[in-house]
Symmetry: C2
Subunit: 417 residues, 2 copies
């Protein structure tokens, strides 16, 4: 007991500097504005350096980081094998008029590794490849409608946003249909009501949305969805941007026992180097070739070299098992500490991507929000970077001692609530 | 005379390997498929390394590269100052849960450098920031329609594609209006016909489209467009992804004597490191903050460090003047050689981004295409990477000797036609 409490003086100063030249100071999922799921007063705004499972903020505070840059950090920050492969390629060339053959090497690695991959197409954002998947499905089927499962997130392209978001017009989302997660009957009904009009079903491999306990697929759910899509000649697109490689190196569809037609990767694919990939089945190869789709940095070689090294190391480590074991150790410790202090902590989703919620807080405006947020704040102030209402991420550089320290800090945080 | 002719045996072998695992083998603007503007039989498919103004292909052929990775290479490949700044930041951290203050530093540099920038928002693709500009314009004006100038290219997001492209549905482009370049009367008429409905005019700073002689703005054109947009309360968006920093470090709008409301940068902004930026005026700061827009790698620190070093070096070199001088030297040599051999070579657009066409070829299916393509092929086979129907790019590492060699090779290529 008695962990030191962080102060964030320099972070606050830098944030004021940022506000002058950057809208919101820090925008998007890393920022303290509306989209932020971390307790603002308790958390750092800017990092100074990062290594392994830790980062240090501009005030010198160290964090055991359970967000992993929201996913990309899967082997530990600045992993030496990955960084050496990247540096070696960087000396030769990165963004050049003709691509490097590292692109072919990386595509071969993905085709060898990912069960549903007969080919790979590389871009930069997760949203670049979810968008390419939608374009491919529409081009192949010559249909317009796309089915989403509620609580989805497929990036920020206009088609993936919502009608009431600023700048979005109805035309961009008018062909979207929303179905509750795990509700096969509703999905089948939607196919009946839109006969011959559905181009694709797009989904994350399980429901790992924000502000909600995460939900795994019901027994047989994916097998029924797969069969329905095949029968109705609609494409089944798996958005594995967030979960990809952490559950199964062969793809999260493989983990749940089915095969997607198209599968989207990003984040863990190259340990933070900037690349995303769409992989898919042979019958879609010509269609994806026909799409008008390119970008200034899409064939840069350094992220391909980093991706090859990342996937090789993940295989050698048997990464999914390793992360699952760490997640279970953490889960058992956190649940036991919560119970001791009389809190009903829920730990949902897969252990490598766990979602946390303290349930049963009748003092809050909604079930659990207030006490949960206060607990998370006490964790972050003591150097464990947890988040309020978003899933967490594990990386292979996290040690047993890191997890033990995390559980000790959780215990102290429960005690001071 | 007597420059050696390249062979591409290994390129062809690697391309066959690529075809097995990548749709089209090489896709997009770097590939030999439909979108390619280089003479396929005469050009290399894969690069092995790059330095300064050259790259070497997998067969060991060296090229004086006038495509510069289609824009990003502005200071020479593997520029030591830029790479050192990037490597220094890389050792500290790149893609981390909290952003680095390099993000603020880079935004400050852009706000100091770009005339119409009161703030900067960073993403990855040029298309990320053209899309953000459209969302911002729609959110601010609460209108839907967007005016484009024909021959435009604003990236591959569905709204920026065309109705007959695979996978694109009419809803995505139904609010687009197309006006001929330099046709102010038509633009004014479009505003009359769509009163209170036009959210934005989006345009490149001059017409640098493919398969067409490039056209600078007519005298007073931009000033009239600026005035019209202001009167009609429509946003004026400049897509400076391709021309940005090569004409004027303060922005190509500044070069042509007006101010955009929103301006999009990519390519030359960080000498090949992966970053793009939307800059804009103070009155749009809150609107851009309200847009739901983020990405996994958008706040990564290494490209910010590279971008700062790139802009500092471009300022020190007075890069736009330097590239213009090189472009004029090249132009004079090429035109003189063409004249000597009896060809009507057209050199259009700005010298730093020149577009080439041999006019008056009555043997071709269309004016000039056949002879032009044969001439380009003879150049590429002798180690000058020119392209058929796309503008070229200069970089500051290109020497007078490189330009002299280019003109000698051009002379031999004209001779053998």
């Amino acid at each position: 007991m008695g962990f030191p409490i962080n102060s964030y003086k320099k972070s606050a100063e830098e944030y004021n500097r940022a506000l002058k030249v950057i809208p919101s100071g820090i925008y998007g999922h890393l920022g303290p504005a509306e989209g932020c799921f971390v307790p603002v007063s308790a958390f750092p705004f800017f990092s100074e350096r990062a290594k392994g499972t830790y980062f240090w903020d501009v005030d010198g505070n160290r964090f055991i980081d359970y967000m992993c840059a929201y996913g990309p950090n899967v082997l530990g920050y600045n992993d030496e094998e990955v960084d050496e492969a990247a540096a070696r390629q960087s000396k030769l060339g990165d963004c050049v008029t003709s691509p490097s053959t590292r692109m072919i090497d990386f595509a071969e690695v993905l085709v060898d590794t990912v069960a549903s991959a007969d080919w790979a197409f590389f871009a930069k954002n997760g949203g670049d490849v979810t968008t390419l998947a939608i374009l491919t499905a529409r081009a192949f089927t010559r249909r317009k409608k796309i089915v989403f499962f509620k609580r989805y997130y497929h990036g920020v392209a206009p088609w993936a946003q919502k009608i009431d978001y600023p700048g979005i017009i109805e035309e961009e989302v008018v062909n979207n249909i929303y179905v509750p997660w795990n509700d096969y009957e509703k999905l089948a009904q939607v196919f009946e009501e839109n006969k011959g009009e559905i181009a694709a079903v797009i989904s994350q491999p399980y429901q790992h949305g924000n502000f909600t306990d995460n939900e795994l697929p019901l027994e047989g759910f994916w097998q029924k969805v797969r069969k329905l899509c095949t029968e109705k000649e609609a494409m089944l697109i798996i958005d594995d941007v967030r979960a990809g490689f952490r559950l199964d190196l062969a793809g999260s569809d493989h983990f749940f026992g089915f095969e997607a037609d198209l599968i989207c990767f990003c984040k863990a694919i190259a340990n933070g180097y900037n690349v995303s990939a769409l992989c898919g089945k042979e019958f879609l190869r010509n269609t994806v070739s026909s799409i008008f789709y390119t970008g200034s940095y899409w064939l840069s070689a350094v992220p391909f070299a980093a991706g090859i090294a990342t996937i090789e190391k993940m295989k050698r480590l048997d990464l999914p098992k390793l992360l699952n074991d760490k997640g279970i150790m953490l889960r058992d410790g956190l649940l036991s500490s919560a119970k001791k202090h009389g809190y009903d902590l829920r730990f949902t989703g897969m252990p490598a991507l766990f979602y946390l919620r303290i349930a049963g807080d009748s003092n809050g405006p909604d079930d659990s929000l207030m006490i949960h947020q206060r607990w998370i704040a006490e964790m972050v102030k003591r150097g464990v970077y947890f988040t309020n209402h978003h899933n967490h991420f594990l990386n292979s550089a996290m040690s047993e001692q890191d997890i033990k320290t995390t559980i000790e800090i959780a215990d102290e945080a429960f005690a001071v609530l």
